[in-house]
């Protein structure tokens, strides 16, 4: 079921175009990952999805009420605020209130029944492992705890969709994993997630849909498998040891049937004309020349690679 749909959306600030021709559909239960470089327009896109900004072109429609026709999200935001949660990049709670006071404060402002609110808070405290710290001032929590509290504050009213901007920024890898698993858990409980992040490997693991934003445009958008498709088998990657002679490898590859060789420092991405012949020819040459490879990668392209490919192509 469609929750939010962006149709030909564009956004400008003054004469400064940030986004254009964005078409994204978010369905209930999705975990949509928005990836892009800094300044690519990710946060603007998130704000459009959250209804915080109004598009200057196209429309952002919501269908929270299934019986109604889709309506402008921004203009009807006041009616559906309780359906949306937003966790901005920087923590958004009161540092001088305790964990419990923050949750109660934001929860009460959504006018939830007392018992429902208490249940929500109890569940969130357990899920975020903050129960033991509920009486601590928020400013006294560690960075990871603060991020979890921030997300908990966004979930305290049980929204149908939660929009998160860089939820794992400035966190160590362990905390990043914790946060992502917490989010996955929330998704399982029915919360649709829209996440913008730099951490592509984490996004790849958690998100079922990806939108790659570059230079104000969404270049790839959809299910992970669909995004990988165009990048499937027209290339393979070899990883070299630091002692390897890269130029020797490149000159060997050029004797083989290849269309393009992309140099990525210790990695070479090869686009062959015939993948089997090229790989076989390469392996023979390596054996003959008694050379060594660190790795030969012919698996599905990672999100990281797809992203890199896209961003390089578009530049």
């Amino acid at each position: 079921m469609k929750l939010i749909e962006l149709r030909d959306v564009g956004k400008k600030f003054g004469n400064n175009g940030i986004l254009s021709d964005v078409n994204i559909t978010i369905e209930e239960g999705d975990i949509l990952g928005i990836i892009g470089r800094s300044g690519s327009g990710k946060t603007t896109l998130l704000n459009l999805i959250a209804g915080f900004l109004e598009p200057t072109a196209g429309e952002v429609l919501h269908s929270f009420n299934v019986t109604d026709t889709p309506k402008s999200l921004h203009r009807n935001l006041h009616k559906i605020k309780d359906q949306i949660g937003y966790a901005p990049q920087h923590n958004s709670f009161y540092p001088k209130l305790t964990v419990m006071e923050n949750l109660l404060h934001f929860g009460q402002l959504y006018h939830l029944p007392k018992s429902t609110l208490q249940n929500n808070i109890k569940g969130l405290l357990q899920a975020t492992a903050l129960a033991a710290h509920q009486n601590k001032l928020a400013e006294h929590l560690s960075g990871g705890m603060q991020k979890r509290l921030d997300i908990a504050c966004s979930l305290v009213h049980k929204p149908r969709i939660l929009v998160l901007d860089e939820p794992t920024a400035d966190l160590d890898p362990m905390l990043q994993k914790d946060i992502m698993s917490f989010l996955a858990q929330a998704n399982k409980q029915g919360v649709t997630l829209v996440i913008a992040s730099h951490h592509l490997n984490l996004m790849e693991k958690v998100c079922n849909k990806i939108a790659i934003v570059h230079n104000g445009k969404v270049h790839s958008n959809g299910l992970m498998a669909d995004i990988q498709k165009p990048y499937l088998r027209d290339n393979f990657t070899i990883s070299l040891n630091p002692g390897n002679n890269k130029e020797r490898f490149i000159s060997m590859l050029k004797t083989l049937p290849v269309d393009k060789i992309i140099d990525r420092q210790q990695r070479l991405i090869i686009h062959p004309k015939n993948i089997t012949k090229t790989i076989t020819g390469l392996l023979t040459m390596i054996q003959d020349e008694k050379l060594y490879l660190h790795d030969l990668d012919i698996r599905l392209p990672s999100l990281d690679e797809i992203f890199e490919t896209i961003t390089q192509e578009k530049e």
């Binding site: 600030f13 605020k81 920087h90």
Partner: protein
Amino acid sequence: MRSLWLLTKKNLKLLVRSRSSALVVFFAPLFIILLLGLSYNSTSKYGLNIGIYAPSFTSDVESLIGSLQEQEFKIIKYETSVDDCVKDIKAGLVHACVSVPESLSVDSNKQKEVSFYVDPSKINLVGVIQDTLNEKFNLKSQELSKELSGSLLSAVSDTKSKLDEQGTQLSSAKEKSAAASSAAQEINQQLDALDLTLPASTYNPQLIADFKTSASPKIKSGLSEIKDAMNAVEASELEEKSAILSSLDQVEEKLKSIDLLVNGAAVSGNTTNITNSSNVSTTTSSNFLSALTLLEEELLNSKVKLTAAATAVGSTSSSLSATTQNLQESVSALDTAQQKVTEMKASLDAQKVTDANVLSAPLITKIERVGQESSYLNYMFPALLVLIVMFSSLLLGTTLVMMEKNSPAFFRNYFLPLRKGTFVISTYFTTLVIILVQVLVILAVSAAFLKGNLLQLLPVAGVLLLSSSVFSFIGMGIGYSFKSEETGTLASISTGSLLLFVSGVVLPIETISPFIRSVTSFNPFVISESVIREVFLFNAGIAEVWPELATLAGYTLGLFAIILVAEYLVHKHFISGFMKHRHLKHRQQEKRDKNNV
């Protein structure tokens, strides 16, 4: 030294580049100087409203009003009662009332009293008003004193010239009286010289008495016998009856003449006839005649004396005429002198003012204080209360808005299902609760020091909360206008100071230029202070202060509307500013990255 300069340069750059700081640091002093320049660059002395009450506005009173208007006082006339004027003082419409008598001219030995009614709670104005009005009335008093003294001196001078004039006449009268005196002395001497002693009587009056005693019964007896004879004759039938009767009549007549002579005292008659007419005894008769002779001699002596007296009188007569003349002239001179003295007395009587006190100060001034006599704390109390509430509310409003704006949670508020007004009202209520506590503490503590009026503290608290609403919204407006908490606080304090400076608490508002004065009358500090003063010092009710309360309520609502707009604009500005800032930063980073490559 170089480091110091570099740091100073950096600080200046940061200040200029932060628009709000630049506004406060550079433009606030300019603005304040401009405002003060406009306010106090005035040649007019005072913009005081002076109420004049007089039973009737005679030319005297009008002339006084004219001289007060020259001083650029605005004069408001009260014809019914001075109480109306006092009521207006309490309402702050009039700064002082002057109750003047119908006429200022002094026509008795009673000083004319002029009463000033001033509001002692306007401490910085009372002195100015008293001094200025006193100065005017002292001038008027001096003018009247001069007029009265002039009139008195003119009367004295007139009297003097009249006295000089009468001096000559009195000298002449004196000389004439002296001449009359010496003439009278002379006459006296002459009269003393007259011998008016009676001649010693040598005749014996007993002789005449004896003569009369002996002669009188005989005459009567003779007359009776004649009557009898005449009756007998009448009764007879004698032929000569008529002749006899006629003879008898004659005899009777003669006897009667004798009787008349003896008893009728007609001594001066013919003594011969007396002697011959009766048969009085010879002795008696001779005695009688000798007596008469003596009498005659004495009469002759008297005649001589009288002749001498007549001569003496004749000689004094001319002296008396001259004396009479002199005396008449003296009387005439004295008459004139008396008339002049009467005139002088009338002239002096016409001077109704003769009391030295009245002459030196015909007008006295009396200061009446409006309202109850209180301590200076009471008078200062309204201003102090508003001062505290103003600064607290301004700073609280600003700080609360700044706190929320700069709070990490500010962003989340946009996603809460609340109206924008809810945040504004919540900030307002927070301020109000704190101010309420402050006001209660202040009033409770003040109650220990204040005299009376404690019941009025309740409405005062109400008014303070209304004032606090106005100042809170102003503070909140400042909070929305500035970025950093420091500049916001500085702006709040500056705003409070400005409102205080043009409130009349520090300098009399009446001394500033009329235009700025008319603007400052809308100063919420002035309005609040005025209402609290009326309620606290003059026990005014809602009916008397409702226009001010309505103005404050109007400010509150107007400012609330402005704050809502500000909140809306801040929201918009925040989002676009936030996003613009983000993209600008990214672009700059990209540029730097490219340059580095």
